[in-house]
């Protein structure tokens, strides 16, 4: 089976009330497709972290979820500030989130590490001033 089912979402920036809508929708669709529960859980957590990152740092962005019979690929693309030091950003607990965001309980520096932890494969393409695209694969 080589077909691919694609779900696309726009994530608005700076709106915490809507953050998580996209991952929640994907979760329900995957359940209706009978995808393994463990894989759904990983997709939901990894995607939610990515969604929150977009809201906090990038003023929103676009998410594409591509499902094939053996893989779920999540592509999070934004035109935000970019990540100057990816290695540092990947460190557990490292955060550049502003204080007002942290006071909401976000920005604990777990976003990217968690995304890496819950995906089988993660790639970050980023350019300062241009934007960031994170591609995650979760194998089925």
């Amino acid at each position: 089976m080589s077909e691919c089912l694609t779900f696309e979402y726009q994530v608005p920036g700076d709106d915490f009330t809507r953050a998580g809508e996209a991952s929640s929708s994907v979760k329900n669709k995957l359940k209706m497709m009978g995808v393994d529960s463990g894989a759904i859980r990983r997709v939901a957590i990894a995607m939610y972290e990515g969604e929150i990152n977009m809201v906090i740092h990038a003023g929103g962005g676009a998410i594409k979820v591509m499902v094939t019979d053996d893989n779920i690929r999540i592509i999070l693309a934004d035109t935000g500030p970019g990540i100057p030091d990816v290695e540092k950003a990947m460190q557990l607990g490292y955060s550049t989130a502003p204080e007002e965001v942290r006071s909401l309980g976000f920005g604990a520096g777990m976003g990217l590490p968690n995304m890496k932890k819950y995906s089988d494969n993660m790639q970050i393409d980023t350019e300062v001033g241009v934007g960031t695209t994170v591609t995650m694969d979760i194998h089925l």
Partner: protein
């Protein structure tokens, strides 16, 4: 017993075919076809939300009749703690318990007393299984049912302890058999319930093979009878109540959690709030929680569809009633030989899955996505499904057709009438009707008639 039985039912005569209920159902279990609503049994979790929102009172909660007391030689009433919150200025639970005896029950056993045992058991269970926390309360049958169909990864988090009413039924049956010497079949255990969800539970419990509850009667049915049996003369009362603040507090949202004596809990009530919490729990958004109390009804059990009093007034009444009671009046050491734990684990029922395997579901999901894109996206409900997406799913499942959508239907009729007008213009120009033209004309008129008949307009 059918594993998808439910106790929220439709009164067909009262149903006008309006589409209020389909919009409020949290599991999208209701459709309106042919001018009447119908409930998909495998989707319904007995939350009772449609009962509250139906303006024609066509959604009803099934419960047993009090007349069934006569079918037993000895009957025991199990009052839910929410029953106490229905009365104004109630100062003493014994007034209610004595009234239950006076109206004809041979004995009473408080569900709130059993709730204190469940609280004690839960404290020790959580203490022994801290690594597996947070645990989700399994006392509300609607919560267990919704997790069973929607949240497979949360099934292992369900607290595997029987609900208070089950423990109460177990103890009450045993006591009755000891006291009377009668066989179990002659003893009728009657739960006086705030909700239809417990009616379903008694017939088809999850977590155990068979419930010890025989009949579930509605608080609203017992309430008016009970009123006339309630006395104000407290000196006449037999002291029957053994429950304290913890047990009686179970009727309110947060009451079960309060019995655990920990601050690391979350308590949510109202089915829509509960769904959000479950989704967040699934995504592991909470840290350090030991216990999650979820109640499908607003305010907790006092908000059940079979109660009489406003849930928030009832909450205030409960607080006033139990304020000066001891913390707990019933203890595990005084009640030996009780089976607290579940016998079975609850199994995931993927009722929302589109196809019978991944391949099929994958293809069907693709069709749902395409169809949803093509439908008008107004979620008007005229087709009888709650949203355009739900209609798309129904079409793909073979349970509805595109022309159920009024906008699609209008478009279809317009294209048919376009065909008709083209055909007649052609015939006019030709000056005669060829057999082929006639056939085409008849075919188009036939389709038009069929679609109009299907729409019943």
């Amino acid at each position: 017993m059918d594993k998808f039985i439910h106790s929220v039912k439709l009164d067909k005569d009262a149903c006008t075919g309006c589409i209020n209920c389909i919009k409020y159902c949290p599991t999208q279990a209701i459709r309106v076809h042919g001018g009447k609503a119908s409930i998909k049994p495998q989707f319904c979790v007995d939350c009772g939300r449609c009962i509250r929102y139906c303006p024609h009172h066509a959604k009803i909660a099934e419960s047993d009749s009090l007349d069934e007391m006569h079918d037993y030689k000895y009957t025991v009433a199990l009052p839910a703690p929410s029953l106490y919150a229905q009365f104004n200025n109630l100062t003493n639970v014994d007034i209610v318990l004595n009234a239950l005896l006076s109206m004809g029950f041979d004995d009473v056993f408080e569900v709130s007393a059993a709730a204190e045992l469940v609280s004690e058991m839960t404290r020790s269970y959580i203490e022994e299984h801290r690594d597996e926390a947070p645990f989700i309360s399994s006392a509300c049958p609607t919560i267990v049912r919704i997790i069973r169909v929607r949240f497979p990864t949360l099934i292992p988090r369900l607290l595997p302890i029987r609900p208070p009413v089950e423990i109460a039924a177990q103890i009450a049956r045993k006591l009755a058999m000891e006291r009377t010497g009668l066989p179990s079949s002659d003893i009728g255990i009657f739960f006086i319930s705030p909700c239809p969800s417990k009616v379903t539970y008694a017939k088809a419990p999850l977590g155990i093979e068979k419930s010890q509850i025989d009949k579930v009667v509605a608080i609203k049915d017992v309430y008016p009878i009970l009123l006339s049996h309630m006395t104000q003369d407290e000196s006449e009362l037999r002291p029957l109540s053994t429950s304290g603040r913890i047990g009686i507090g179970w009727s309110n949202s947060g009451g079960e959690a309060a019995g655990l004596i920990t601050d690391n809990y979350l308590a949510a009530d109202g089915i829509m709030n509960v769904l959000r919490v479950l989704s967040d729990l699934e995504d592991e958004k909470f840290h350090g929680l030991l216990f999650v109390e979820l109640n499908a009804c607003n305010g907790g059990c006092v908000g059940g569809p079979l109660t009489v009093e406003n849930p928030y007034v009832a909450t205030a009444k409960t607080k006033r009633l139990h304020r000066y009671l001891p913390v707990s009046g019933t203890h595990m050491e005084a009640c030996p030989d009780v089976d607290y734990l579940w016998e079975d684990y609850v199994e995931y029922e993927p009722v929302f899955r589109l196809g019978s395997n991944f391949r099929e579901s994958f293809e069907m999901m693709g069709m749902v996505e395409d169809l949803t894109e093509q439908l008008p996206g107004l979620d008007c409900g005229s087709c009888g499904a709650p949203t355009c997406r739900a209609l798309a799913e129904d079409i793909v499942r073979g349970e509805a057709s595109r022309n159920d959508c009024i906008y699609e239907f209008i478009e279809y009729i317009q294209s048919l009438s376009g065909d008709l007008s083209y055909l007649t213009t052609e015939m006019e120009a030709a000056g005669h009707i060829s057999p082929v033209d006639l056939q085409n004309l008849q075919h188009s008129i036939g389709k038009l008639a069929l679609e109009l008949r299907r729409k019943d307009v």
